[in-house]
């Protein structure tokens, strides 16, 4: 097993090199060959024999330690990120030069200040709207929110009341119409009964007439016969005239009775007056 594993190529992720049976093979990648991005640590790794710290000169110690720490840090950094991206990840203000157009926008600079504070070198005055922007914002708000809270509440209340008023008035109208409808219904029913009665009476009258005419002809003539019809007409006329006459006489009688009653009242009054006069004279 050991011999086999020795033959197999092993890939060291840490420094981007291939080892085949102890020999160093370079991985052919553009970043490696240029050394611009990922090559940084590879170069460092090649000279990665750390110096023995015990034997460093005492004079240059302070200077060296920082440089040394930086160098070690460089080796340790295996993220493969570009310096600017590394800074963004570690929340350090990116020291990128302002080259792209968006680096000069207020939006970008505002965000730089928000994220990195004064270290970003942005004037925080940028954060607030300029006079023109403020005027625009105010204009927008004037159009979008034309009323104050109180006014909106009042308008809503008025709307609600108008709706309530509308419903109430409609209810009153319906109630009024319902009462009218009840009266009309009663009248209609009465009229219906009356009409029915009248129709029945007319039918009975006609039947009576026909029966009488039949008796008159001794059942020998068909109802549809001309003579029969004429007879019926004649009889109806006679009956009607008779009825009229009856009515007249009744009226006359009634009038006479009324007249008599009136006369009686007048007589009584006259008598009473005479009595009074007599009484006055006697006194």
């Amino acid at each position: 097993m050991t011999s086999l594993s020795g033959l197999l190529p092993t890939f060291s992720k840490e420094n981007g090199r291939l080892f085949i049976s102890g020999q160093l093979w370079k991985v052919l990648s553009p970043s490696f060959s240029t050394g611009a991005c990922r090559g940084v640590k590879t170069v460092a790794a090649e000279e990665a024999t750390l110096p023995d710290l015990d034997h460093v000169d005492a004079d240059a110690e302070d200077q060296d330690t920082s440089a040394e720490a930086e160098r070690i840090q460089k080796i340790r950094d295996i993220s493969g990120l570009r310096p600017n991206h590394r800074n963004i990840v570690h929340r350090v203000c990116p020291t990128e030069e302002k080259v792209l157009p968006h680096h000069y926008t207020t939006y970008y600079n505002k965000r730089m200040f928000g994220r990195y504070g004064y270290a970003s070198g942005v004037n925080p005055g940028l954060c607030w709207p300029t006079q023109e922007q403020l005027a625009e914002i105010k204009e927008y708000e004037r159009v979008a929110y034309p009323y104050s809270i109180m006014e909106v509440a009042k308008r809503e209340l008025e709307k609600e009341e108008a709706e309530k008023e509308r419903i109430l008035s409609r209810d009153a109208e319906v109630a009024d119409k319902y009462q009218k409808m009840l009266k009309l219904k009663e009248e209609f029913l009465k009229r219906k009964v009356k009409e029915k009665e009248e129709a029945e009476a007319a039918k009975a009258f006609k039947n009576r007439l026909i029966e009488e005419v039949r008796l008159h002809f001794n059942y020998t003539i068909n109802e549809r016969d001309e003579r029969f019809r004429l007879e019926v007409k004649e009889r109806a006329k006679q009956l009607r005239e008779k009825e009229k006459l009856e009515k007249k006489t009744l009226k006359k009688e009634k009038q006479a009775v009324d007249k008599a009653a009136k006369f009686e009242i007048q007589k009584k009054q006259l008598l009473a007056e005479e009595e009074r006069k007599a009484a006055v004279k006697s006194t």
Binding site: K110, F113, G114, G117, P124, C127
Partner: protein, 294 residues
Amino acid sequence: MASHRGYEKALSMLRTLPRVSLYNVAPTPNFVKKSKRGRGQHGGDTHGAGNKGALARQSYTRTGFEMGNNPYYLRFPNEPYYIGQHLRRQYPPLSLGQLQLMIDTDRINPKKPIDLVQICNTGLYKINVSGLHYGVHLTDDGADNFKAKVNIEVQWASEPVIAAIERNGGTITTAFYDPRCLHALTKAKKFLESGEPIPKRMIPPEDAIKAYTDPKFRGYLADPDKISWERLVLAQKYGYTLPKIEEDPDHEMLTARKDPRQIFFGLEPGWVINLVDRIILKPTDPELKEYYKG
């Protein structure tokens, strides 16, 4: 091997019995054996599907299909209840039980006023502002087990929810936020890092003003005197004695309210907060000051 002891007998039986496997387990009580499709003389032939036609080919028409008629389910294309659905405000629910759980698991600190910021910062509640979500609707699930005393501000709440909170000596407010403020509240850190000044809260739309000025709904625009009266009325309706918040040691916390223009507790509109330098920057321009004030 016979023994008068039951367990010995059982053990001896177990020794001789075969291992429990798929071959010797009995079916569960409600097990129904599925009938298999028979072949040939065992119910084969047409398998009960008849002879010729759609039924034999089992090419059934789709449900509701009326053989070329205008189908019933499409005949009346009128769904009036969806009119304006895409414009209606949504309030995703959060139950009282969930709120209690958040408090019990230290996701929310009940010793401080709770608002949308606290609820969203738990990471357990999300709202999609661009999806017309306008904040929390506190629902009454778990109201009986709600025991916390809180000062909470939500965007929608029903009467039993208000009762459940006030019964425990807490207070509740319903407040409206416009989408811009909601963006700031739901992702507070992201907003503060954007370097934008804190926006002022805009007034509610016309169809919401009635709710938010209603003392029964504990609206943030309602008269506080009327609210205290309604608290008493609600206590009598639900039959509990209203705890006196005036005598409460947390009185200050319980009565903390935001200004109708304010969106963060303790921070005013127009301020820029820098989290790195830990500073508050206030506008000095009188015009700006006036704008953020009113």
